[in-house]
């Protein structure tokens, strides 16, 4: 004998818990994420640590960075465009020119980054930042 069970009503899956979870995830990602677009500039180049360099720089240009953030090359204070033009001319003349930046400790980070940026735009590939330490 076959017993026919009455068909049970199809259970509806409630969507409300799913919406709750999604809202919690949404708020979590909105609160914990940062939305700044960040780039990087290498501060220590991998080749710098190795002894000896394959190519000897032909000359060195030293840029002093004053506490006011103005770069000084060969005793002349330069704005960003003039510095870029000067460095581009030097690189066109001698591509292996090394550029050394000697910043004042009181200069701001933005000033150093701007000079490094300008040098990179001028095609400088050998760039170093010097730091003077107080004598003990």
């Amino acid at each position: 004998m076959m017993i026919n069970r009455p068909a049970r009503p199809r259970a509806l899956i409630s969507l409300v818990p799913m919406i709750d979870v999604m809202l919690i995830l949404l708020v979590f990602f909105m609160v914990t994420s940062t939305y700044l677009n960040l780039d990087m500039i290498p501060a220590v180049k991998p080749s710098e640590g190795t002894a000896g360099s394959p190519q000897t720089p032909a000359g060195t240009l030293m840029i002093r960075l004053g506490a006011d953030g103005v770069p000084v090359l060969r005793g002349t204070a330069l704005d960003r465009e003039t510095l870029r033009t000067t460095l581009s001319a030097a690189m066109a003349e001698e591509p292996l020119t090394q550029v050394v930046i000697l910043p004042s400790g009181a200069a701001q980070t933005q000033a150093l980054i701007t000079v490094m940026d300008t040098a990179a735009l001028a095609g400088v590939t050998r760039l170093r930042v010097l730091r003077l330490e107080a004598a003990p």
């Binding site: 969507l15 409300v16 799913m18 919406i19 999604m22 809202l23 995830l25 949404l26 990602f29 909105m30 914990t32 994420s33 940062t34 939305y35 700044l36 677009n37 960040l38 780039d39 990087m40 500039i41 290498p42 501060a43 220590v44 991998p46 640590g49 910043p103 004042s104 400790g105 009181a106 200069a107 701001q108 980070t109 933005q110 150093l112 980054i113 701007t114 490094m116 940026d117 990179a120 735009l121 930042v129 730091r131």
Partner: protein
């Protein structure tokens, strides 16, 4: 005369639209956000044109405009920094050290930390910048 309207299903179609919107927002925020630890103070990195895309990974050393430090979002003193960095470097010798200095931070508070990281053995030390449109 009173007309009896048939009862409408109260919430089916509106809830599906809500789910769509919430799901879209969720994916949007997951894609454009970065899950970096933020410093407990204000850090606005310097702007640069020639910065390269920063891949994920590594530890972030934040420096405030006044020279306060935070390592991966937690404030740290200069004295405690070297042991903490050394311990992290022991676990992963190829660890990238990201120095996220406020653009107004004085270089006397920034450059010694670059040298310190290099001296500890970090081979990949980068300065964090924000992109600037080439004008």
């Amino acid at each position: 005369m009173k007309l009896n309207r048939p009862a409408r299903n109260p919430h089916s179609e509106t809830i599906i639209a809500l789910i769509d919107v919430v799901f879209f927002l969720l994916v949007f925020f997951m894609l454009i956000g970065r899950m970096d630890a933020t410093a407990p103070f204000d850090v606005r990195p310097a702007t640069a044109v020639t910065g390269r895309d920063m891949p994920a990974g590594g530890i972030t050393l934040a420096i405030s405009a006044t020279g306060d430090l935070a390592l991966d979002g937690k404030e740290i003193t200069r004295g405690a920094l070297s042991p903490a960095l050394s311990a992290l470097l022991e676990n992963d010798p190829e660890l990238r050290l990201r120095i996220n200095a406020h653009r107004a931070a004085e270089l006397r508070n920034v450059l010694p930390l670059v040298a310190q990281g290099e001296a500890l053995g970090f081979r990949n030390v980068v300065l964090v910048v924000t992109p600037e449109t080439d004008g």
